[in-house]
């Protein structure tokens, strides 16, 4: 039976329309190719809906939305008989232009609906579908009726995750990836067997909402490769789809999530709400600036854009409208794309008020964790913004943080800085001083991410080599890479240096995987991928950033070691424990204990270069197959050292499980008593069992 509220009341150029439904925002397909359009704009005086046939420069109709179609601050119009798959849409707003009051309406501009569910304009990577300065990013209309076949977010406990950060394009764009659909969602699917072998169970995707690959202030050659330049918060990046031009980006991304879930791999998205691709003063009119600038952006009294993000503008995240907008976006990704979690870029901006100042109890932060749809969704904060505001460990329980202290202190210790030792111990414990209330699972432990060197470059370069970047940044010279090149800067034929680098990678990954908290590493670090010393490859759409899969063969022993470490972590729940308990357990040993080269003798508060730590893992507490001790000896000194093994109950014996200096894994399973001797800069894991 036809609904009584779906009969046209107006007509223009043969297009029939009527007052629309105020909610939901965005373009919603109703029966019989009717589409409801709804958009918020508080400060505008007029709003036109502009409709284009797909790919055409000029619109086929522009409907001036009558005043009687507006309720509150929402314009809504229902349009009949639309070939909606082949339609693009936008809005033209009129209103005040007075930047000191935050307004900059421009009726000559057509702008993108912030709630558009798919966007055209960059259908192919780094290619303009439409002319520069024209209406470039256009809304497209979809129906969210994907067949999930029983899938939903996996719900893996945070403490059990092993997170793998990757860039959709860079992961498989290089020909060495040998996938069919290079640099796309489908390319990621083709690599699932590899990811399963590696053992990770969560991917954190670098930005994949529709973003701008061009830098507005530069010519069109440099590429904003990373994608921290969001155009729209409800649309997947069309150029990451194999058939994006055919409007299949949504289906393709959903399929990627579904296939990853089928294989036990969760999906976390790196989201960038702190700023947008419209940048700051004099920036482009793409969407928010033209819809309602004052609502969406933090402005200074002098009419300039506040810039806490160091990217030109700052989203007004705690404006009630924007707060709802952000919650709506996250709900959408969780409910329609089955996303398991989010990593919030420059998250302290979620805690800035409408005056830009830090808030005591930021409502956005509170509401996200208590939202009915998002209550089980992982929320990970990058707890610092570009203006020096840090919120690490300060967001409510349930939030996690990227842990930069772990990142730096582990690298410093590994390169031989004894003074980093005491801080390292606290970090390996899961940083109770930072996350004491919420527990180790709030600490995302990482050593390398997209920011900074790859792990290989951490052991191959002392200095950044960013000569090919689009512009200079503090990362070039001021950033402390905490790296050491093992004696030679960059590539070398020196076998001794090459061997040491491999060992250092294994050492660092050993501590990462044996630490309490949630380990994360950068795609390719498991096989020595290099960015040739570039520590800020944001604009490198080239072999600098693309994974070189040939190195997987070259660094086979490193890959095998990392794979084994991940399997080891997954096999031992004591490492993944979700609390800071460190009393004696049912084996009558401390759950985690710290040792020097002599067992039980260790001053964790003074600088050191050698240490051991031991977990005790009783069946009773951890429901494993047998009681077990895990001992890790770490020699960061440039000289050989012997480590006395802790005495374990009679009948139990120590066996070597992994040794970073043993490239052939020949020592695995070797029974050992009394002491073990470690080469300079090496680490060893032993298992104590009956």
């Amino acid at each position: 039976m036809k609904r009584v509220d779906q009969f046209p009341s107006h007509e223009l150029n043969g297009i029939k329309y009527r007052a629309g439904k105020t909610m939901p925002f965005g373009a919603t397909v109703l029966d019989d190719n009717t589409v409801n359009f709804s958009i918020y704009s508080k400060h505008s005086t007029r709003c036109n809906l502009v409709l284009y046939h797909l790919g055409e420069a000029k619109p086929f109709v522009e409907i001036s939305i009558p005043d009687e179609f507006r309720i509150g601050s929402v314009y809504a119009v229902m349009v009949f008989g639309l070939d909606w798959e082949n339609t693009e849409y936008g809005y033209r707003f009129d209103g005040p232009y007075n930047l000191s009051e935050g307004h900059c309406f421009d009726k000559t501009k057509i702008v993108l609906d912030p709630y558009a569910k798919m966007v055209s304009g960059r259908d192919e990577w780094h290619t303009r579908t439409y002319k520069k300065k024209s209406y470039q990013f256009r809304g497209r209309i979809i129906r969210d009726d994907y067949d999930w076949d029983g899938d939903r977010p996996l719900g893996t406990p945070m403490k059990d995750l092993v997170i793998y950060e990757l860039h959709v394009r860079g992961f498989t764009k290089d020909k060495s990836s040998k996938v069919k659909h290079k640099g796309t969602f489908a390319g990621v699917i083709e690599k699932i067997p590899y990811l399963k072998e590696l053992g990770i169970n969560c991917i954190e995707f670098m930005p994949l909402f529709e973003f701008e690959e061009f830098f507005p202030a530069l010519d069109d050659v440099p590429t904003n490769y990373w994608g921290y330049s969001t155009v729209n918060y409800f649309s997947p990046k069309t150029a990451y789809a194999s058939y994006g031009k055919m409007g299949l980006a949504v289906d393709e991304m959903k399929n990627m999530v579904k296939q990853l879930h089928k294989n036990g791999i969760e999906v976390i998205l790196d989201i960038v709400f702190n700023h947008t691709a419209e940048y700051g003063d004099g920036g482009e009119y793409l969407s928010f600036r033209g819809v309602d600038n004052k609502t969406y952006y933090l402005m200074n009294d002098d009419g300039t854009y506040s810039n806490y993000s160091a990217c030109g503008n700052t989203m007004n995240c705690n404006n009630p409208i924007v707060r709802s907008f952000i919650v709506d976006s996250l709900r959408y990704w969780v409910s329609e794309f089955h996303i398991d979690g989010f990593r919030i870029d420059e998250a302290p901006i979620f805690a800035r008020g409408q005056d830009g100042q830090p808030m005591v109890s930021p409502p956005l932060v509170e509401s996200l964790k208590n939202d009915p749809v998002l209550s089980d969704t992982k929320l990970i904060s990058e707890g610092w913004d570009a203006a020096g505001f840090s919120t690490i460990g300060q967001f409510p329980t349930g939030w996690a943080d990227w842990n930069p202290r772990m990142r730096d202190t582990l690298k410093r210790f590994a390169k031989g800085m004894a003074e980093a030792g005491p801080e390292l111990i606290t970090s390996l414990e899961g940083s109770p001083d930072m996350f004491g209330v919420s527990g180790p699972a709030s600490s995302v432990n990482y050593v390398n991410s997209h920011d900074g060197f790859t792990l290989y470059d951490t052991v191959a370069y002392n200095h950044a080599h960013n000569e090919g970047n689009a512009f200079t940044s503090p990362m070039d010279h001021e950033f402390d890479n905490c790296s050491w090149n093992c004696g030679v800067e960059g590539e070398t034929d020196d076998l001794e240096v090459i061997t040491l680098r491999r060992r250092q990678i294994k050492n660092i990954m050993t501590l990462l995987m044996l630490s309490r908290g949630v380990p994360m590493f950068w795609a390719g670090d498991e096989f020595g991928n290099t960015q040739y010393g570039n520590n800020n490859a944001f604009s490198s759409d080239s072999t600098v950033s693309w994974l070189d899969w040939n190195r997987l063969k070259e660094y086979e022993d490193v890959f095998h070691y990392v794979k084994s470490l991940i399997a080891f972590r997954k096999a031992h729940p004591v490492i993944r424990k979700g609390d800071y308990f460190n009393g004696h357990n049912s084996m009558n040993y401390p759950e985690v204990s710290w040792h020097g080269t002599s067992a039980w003798e260790f001053d964790r508060f003074s600088p050191f270069l050698t240490f051991g730590f031991m977990y005790s893992e009783p069946v009773k507490e951890f429901e494993t197959e047998e009681d077990c001790f895990i001992y890790c000896a770490y020699n960061s000194h440039w000289e050989e050292h012997s480590f006395e093994l802790p005495i374990i109950p009679e009948g139990m014996n120590w066996r070597i499980d992994m040794y970073s200096a043993d490239e052939k894994f020949k020592s695995k399973g070797k029974e050992t008593k009394g002491t073990v001797t470690l080469m300079p800069r090496s680490s060893m894991i032993l298992i104590g069992k009956r």
């Binding site: 909606w84 009726d145 299949l248 296939q259």
Partner: protein, 99 residues
């Protein structure tokens, strides 16, 4: 434009599609299918001459498959390579029976 050909043999039906299957033509195919399916137990969709399929077009195939799953079989055959890839990257290949 979409040309639809039908070849029925008892409860077996082969539908041939030629041209474009998108929002404008999908309702036409949907209508045909709705009318014919009650009598059909084995359906073949011959896509040899199908040049283009959109998201809406994919959904007509999928909903037809779901109906046929309750009463018989449906086979998609003679798809061009690009169509097969589209089925694969969108995940529809897991749901459709493709020859």
């Amino acid at each position: 434009m979409l040309n639809i050909t039908k070849n029925a043999n008892g409860s077996n039906l082969t539908i041939g599609l030629e041209g474009r299957l998108d929002t404008t033509t999908a309702p036409e195919l949907e209508g045909e299918v709705k009318e014919l399916l009650p009598e059909v137990t084995d359906l073949v969709l011959d896509l040899e001459k199908l040049e283009y399929i959109s998201s809406a077009g994919l959904r007509v195939l999928l909903s037809t498959q779901k109906v046929m799953n309750t009463k018989g079989t449906m086979l998609v055959k003679n798809s061009r390579e690009e169509l097969k890839e589209i089925f694969k990257v969108t995940g529809f290949a897991d749901i459709l029976t493709i020859e």
